[in-house]
Amino acid sequence: MALLTVENLTVTFPSRHGSTNAIENVTIHVEPGEILGMVGESGAGKSMTGAAIIGLLEPPGHISSGEIRLEGERIDNLPPAAMRRIRGRRIGAIFQDPLTSLNPVLTVGDQLIETIRAHLPLTKEAARERAIDWLRRVGIPAPEKRIDTYPHQYSGGMRQRVVIALALCAEPRLIIADEPTTALDVSVQAQIIALLRRLARETGAAVVLVTHDMGVIAETADRVAVMYAGRIVEVGPVAEVLTHPRHPYTAGLMASIPRIGPRPEILPQIEGAMPRPASRPAGCAFAPRCPYRIDRCIAERPALRGTGAAQVSCHLAEEIPV
């Protein structure tokens, strides 16, 4: 059984000028222990998908249709208290900016111990032992001493290690890591990704790894989901999707791989910009930028289809040269 399944998930933001769907009909699944990479331009809906899964959409945003299941159990309609027990304990989350993810006025130990005790029936002393142990596991030197220091006494990379410890300290089965290295020095990015991968393997947790970096996807992920304008346009095993992208947008993303350093937020290789949710075209959202566009693309929205592990949402998937 899949660890997580998301089916036809649509997140809607109502407003005075009519409502918009931040994400639309998103369908993904995550198997136990695997790493699912998620890529797509800024604004594609990656963070929104993550927020919906952990039940932290910001009002007035809400799930207007679709289902989320964790180990077979529906979690998209749980009461707040039940959802709270899932967050941290069964689904951990890591956010982009380690400099702002930690509370500046509480020690690292306070934050760890509090999180551990929120989910596990441990005494203060036992929780403290566990907290020190986790700091050691994420590679903080002299954790017995560092546990009583404040976040500002850590460097950016060290803080992201603490964030990882906080997300993993109650051993969730699933970790959603939303661009965990984007805000970090290039020199420490690889270390953090390696740490995350090692810990996931050790604890058997599955990871949804959101990143701009196709290189990281290639090295780290088992499968990859490509998002564009609020929808999944292609998903499949990394080896297959990266070597034989079938969606023109994925192909465009591939073209950006050889670049060194941070990935561009918009793709210079593909003319134009991703449409905002409110101005999404009726047909394929990528059609206005697509070099292979046919009339059908403008009239009809392609469904995500495919046999076997890889799926793509493109009318021309079979015909496009790779």
């Binding site: 952990i54 932290l56 709270r84 027990r85 899932i86 967050r87 941290g88 304990r89 951990g92 989350a93 956010f95 900016d97 702002t100 993810s101 930690l102 509370n103 500046p104 006025v105 509480l106 020690t107 934050q111 509090e114 999180t115 929120a118 989910h119 220091t149 404040y150 500002h152 006494q153 850590y154 460097s155 060290m158 964030v163 906080l166 997300a167 109650a170």
Partner: protein, 327 residues
């Protein structure tokens, strides 16, 4: 921490010296003090004799140094109005003002912080809208108007509370307190409500704004993502960060309360330092005015120093320590 304290104290001393200079200059601006001490037809010799006796014939900086030395020992000379030592007059009046300001400050915190939190956590509730509206009125009405309205309602119409004075006070050593008698406590209610109203609304609005700001931060989002309870998030994670800036404003406003107490004391005929100051102004009683100025400034400076220290205690980022930046 210790170095910081020393630095602050040195700064404070300079501030106080400047204040003392202003107080000292007041004696000059009010004309030749000798005129008001000798009869109009006194001879030049008599005048010079008085001048020499008061030390007014010496160079200004000597006079200033003497003023500062005496002031540091609490000696501000005699009141020109009733020839009693200024320090005694102030000491008599100090407890009344201190108790009034203390109760008002306490009220503003005890009510302002919870109301601010409440309105921040339920931004759309009717109670929030109502409180926001009332606080807007509270912040825009001049305090003497609210004072008079309070008297009209609770003293004149309802007859529940006295409209003037301190009630019965009990002496504890040199301190006369209104806390120990029913009439004393009742007499405190209206003036302290009037005095705290502005501060209360300010604190409520400030706490609300800060709290809402803090609740939007990434570390609160991350705390929620770790499954912490709302209570832990609101009161353990958010409140501390909320209160840090609130404390500064509160400290500054505490000084403001002492200054505003002048109006309250006038409206309620409250026998405090403010009322004494108003009397002194109308009589041109410069020693009392100067002493009031110095004393209030001293309180201001002391409060500010305490606030800065509290800030360091509450915000670990301001603490300088060896581990900073270690990798």
């Amino acid at each position: 921490m210790f170095g910081f304290l020393v630095r602050r104290i040195v700064q404070s001393v300079f501030v106080m010296l400047a204040v003392a200079l202003i107080a000292f200059m007041m004696f000059r601006f009010m004309g030749d003090p000798v005129n008001s001490m000798v009869s109009e037809n006194a001879s030049v010799a008599e005048r010079e004799e008085v001048r020499a006796r008061l030390g007014l014939d010496q160079p200004l900086y000597v006079q200033y140094a003497r003023f500062v030395t005496r002031a540091a020992q609490g000696d501000f000379g005699l009141s020109w109005r009733n020839a009693r030592p200024v320090s005694t007059l102030l000491a008599e009046r100090f407890p009344a003002t201190a108790e009034l300001v203390l109760v008002a400050a306490g009220l503003s915190l005890v009510l302002g912080i919870p109301l601010g939190i409440l309105t921040a956590l339920r931004p759309r509730a009717l109670s929030t809208q109502t409180l926001q509206f009332i606080s807007l009125v509270g912040i825009s009405l001049p305090t003497f108007v609210t004072g008079i309205l309070l008297i009209l309602t609770f003293s004149v119409w309802l007859g529940w509370l006295p409209s003037f004075g301190r009630g019965t006070v009990v002496d504890v050593g040199w301190w006369s307190t209104g806390f120990l008698t029913t009439t004393g406590l009742k007499a405190l209610i209206l003036p302290s409500v009037m005095l705290c109203l502005f501060q209360l609304t300010l604190i409520m609005r400030l706490v609300r704004a800060e709290m809402m700001e803090v609740l939007r931060t990434d570390y609160i989002k991350f705390a929620r993502a770790r499954g912490l309870s709302d209570r832990a998030i609101h009161f353990h994670h958010a409140l501390r960060n909320t209160l840090i800036p609130v404390i500064t404003i509160f400290g500054l406003q505490l000084g403001g309360l002492i200054a505003f107490a002048i109006i309250t004391e006038t409206v309620f005929q409250w026998p405090g330092m403010g009322a004494l100051f108003i009397q002194a102004v109308s009589f041109g009683d410069v020693p009392v005015m100067a002493a009031y100025l110095v004393l209030v400034s001293l309180i201001f400076v002391t409060i500010n120093t305490i606030v800065d220290l509290l800030y360091v205690v509450l915000d670990p980022r301001l603490r300088v320590d060896g581990a900073r930046g270690a990798h």
